[in-house]
């Protein structure tokens, strides 16, 4: 999967506002004791398969290089060692992970803010205003959702290089904000808001800007924050593009930095795993905090498929 956002291509196509409560529904668990045992056994095996690699990543990041390559392999680091993190975070490191972390953070936050701001304004016009050319604009924007991203790879590389953005965070922040997903997503949401709200504001003498910022945006907080979270995760995890447009060690984001570590002449797994932990912790935290929104937006995407 290239991005979280593609999964939600048709998200919010149905009524988005009241959050559904998946945990309430569902069929009762099997009542026979054997069925119960099999059910929990299966869940336990799956949980181990899903969590073991992550535990291994964490454990290795606290090993010495010698301990990580010593057979038989051990789940517990002996000796317990924070050397990998110290190498990565040390000043003057050839692999400045702290710098990569900040680059990733700045790029993902800026990209997410840019997407929410420009998409909300565009979606407002497309959902609530009438003007000549509206249908044509909407259709041409939406059509591009279905174009595979790799078609834009080569021309955007040349455009970004002409703008002088190669090897800079601008290349990570700006071009992907042209994507149509957020416009579609927010337009669908805005369209569901009752017209009466606007009419009341118009009677009060509000102009469109005021209606947009005072009525529509506050009511759309769930959709706006969902788009912000999805855009942040997508940008944070983006891999192919940063690998090719960023070169200098100081300008990398975490994913492109991990590729650099993996392709280094001497592969040091504790260091690579420590880098992977640094890249994972923020997204796992965001996922745990915004779990409901992330899962809702993914699960709703299929319903209108």
């Amino acid at each position: 999967m290239t991005s979280l956002a593609t999964g939600g291509a048709t998200a919010a196509a149905d009524e988005p506002s009241p959050q559904r409560q998946p945990a309430r529904s569902g069929r009762p668990a099997s009542r026979s004791p054997l069925g119960q045992v099999l059910f929990w056994l299966m869940l336990a095996i799956l949980t181990v398969i899903f969590l073991a690699p992550l535990v291994w990543m964490l454990s290795t990041s606290f090993k010495t290089h010698e301990a990580a390559t010593r057979l038989p392999l051990s789940w517990w680091p002996t000796p317990w060692d924070t050397g990998a993190y110290r190498v990565l975070f040390g000043s003057g490191s050839a692999n400045p992970v702290l710098r990569w972390f900040l680059n990733s953070l700045v790029a993902a936050a800026a990209n997410s803010a840019l997407i929410v701001a420009v998409d909300a304004a565009a979606a407002y016009a497309l959902a609530r205003l009438d003007f000549p050319g509206k249908k044509l604009i909407f259709v041409s924007v939406i059509t591009t959702i279905f174009l595979p991203a790799f078609v834009f790879l080569v021309p955007n590389f040349l455009i970004v290089s002409k703008l002088g953005w190669l090897d800079s965070l601008w290349a990570i922040i700006v071009p992907s904000a042209g994507g149509a997903f957020g416009v579609f997503f927010l337009r669908q949401f805005f369209s569901t808001l009752p017209r009466e709200l606007e009419e009341a504001a118009i009677i009060d003498g509000a102009n469109q800007w005021r209606i947009f910022t005072r009525v529509i945006l506050p009511l759309s907080r769930p959709a706006l924050s969902t788009l912000a979270v999805l855009s942040f995760l997508t940008n944070w995890n983006d891999f192919l593009w940063p690998v090719y447009v960023l070169f200098s060690p100081n300008n990398l984001t975490l994913p492109s930095g991990l590729a650099k570590l993996q392709n280094a002449a001497t592969v040091d797994y504790p260091i690579i795993m420590a880098g992977a932990v640094v890249a994972s912790v923020p997204v796992i935290l965001i996922f745990l905090i915004a779990q409901r929104q992330v899962i809702e937006s993914v699960s709703r995407s299929g319903l209108k498929g």
């Binding site: 569902g26 392999l73 016009a125 205003l129 003007f131 078609v151 997204v283 498929g305």
Partner: protein, 316 residues
């Protein structure tokens, strides 16, 4: 962030200004709302879409002082026998095809099983749902370096345990086919399974419980219920998951880039991997653009076929 700044500028706006009614009906207002996104859309979607075609008609080699017009020869070269680029390109398409053929069936079926497990009432359900989804929120970079390590022939966890239970323990997961494909497909299933499972779960919850109750009254077995209630109820969701998974598989890049680096002898170098190498590393943008359009065309054809097949099944 932006909304607060927008709001603060608004505080200063003269809300009681007499011109408000005129401003509200200003013909330019909708276009002003569209303008910021419009600039990005035109600059990074619309222009590239057309510019890409223009590039593909030129010999866009960075070594050349000029980029001469070459017509369709970037395209036709790929179909000529004996063309080096053509051979490499079709080999990369073949790699993507192999990956797709083996990963899609697993990613369409296993998540359905997991969704059915999760579609029951039991304590800790939200926890397990989160567990299965967690790998998906990690990027391909994290998953790639992690599995490069887990699949390592000598110090990888997988071979270590395989050795313990009596297998050879020296399987070359990252350097030899077919093992490399097993590794690449396996890690992709681990990574993206939760995404499909969540979509299925929502689909399952949309199936009316009365249908199951009615089937039970008729004495239907678990298998009967699955075949006659669950599957028909999931048809649109199935098509959606299948399409999405097909497209995602066709975009496969990071796994090969990090785990096998295309080894052995470019057998696992996928189409996107090769196109990005040619266009963004060797700076031969003309032919790379042509390749991406051919790949896009192949995807369009497969998607159409996919929809056609589903529709025929629905009619029969």
């Amino acid at each position: 962030m932006t909304t607060t700044s927008e709001r603060s500028t608004l505080e200063g706006a003269p809300a009681r200004a007499t011109g408000r009614r005129v401003r509200r009906n200003n013909w330019a207002t909708p276009y002003l709302f569209l303008a910021p996104y419009g600039v990005l859309f035109v600059g990074f979607i619309l222009i590239p879409a057309i510019y890409g075609i223009w590039i593909s008609l030129h010999d866009y080699d960075y070594l050349l002082p000029h980029q001469p017009w070459v017509g369709l020869s970037n395209y036709t070269d790929l179909f000529k026998s004996g063309s080096r680029d053509g051979a490499d390109f079709w080999r990369s398409i073949r790699a993507t095809a192999i990956f797709t053929v083996f990963s899609v069936p697993l990613l369409v079926t296993i998540p359905l099983g997991i969704a059915m497990l999760l579609n029951r009432r039991f304590p800790g359900r939200t926890f397990f749902r989160a567990v299965f989804f967690t790998p998906y929120v990690l990027g391909v970079a994290v998953v790639g370096v992690l599995f490069r390590f887990l699949l390592d022939p000598t110090i990888g966890l997988l071979n270590f345990y395989l050795g313990k239970i009596g297998f050879s323990g020296t399987t070359p997961w990252t350097t030899q086919v077919p093992w490399a494909w097993v590794g690449l497909v396996g890690m992709t299933v681990w990574w993206t399974l939760g995404f499909n499972a969540i979509i299925y779960l929502a689909g399952l919850q949309d199936i009316s419980p009365e249908l199951y109750e009615a089937a039970e009254v008729d004495g239907a077995s678990a298998w009967d219920k699955f075949r006659n209630v669950t599957l028909p109820g999931l048809r649109p969701v199935l098509l959606f998951v299948l399409t999405l998974t097909l497209l995602a598989s066709a975009n496969m890049f990071g796994q090969s880039f990090l785990v096998t680096k295309g080894a052995p002898s470019n057998a696992t170098r996928t189409a996107i991997y090769y196109i990005s190498q040619v266009g963004l590393q060797q700076y031969r943008q003309g032919i790379a653009a042509a390749m991406s359009y051919i790949l896009a065309l192949i995807l369009v054809l497969i998607s159409l076929l996919n929809f056609r097949l589903f529709r025929e099944k629905e009619e029969s």
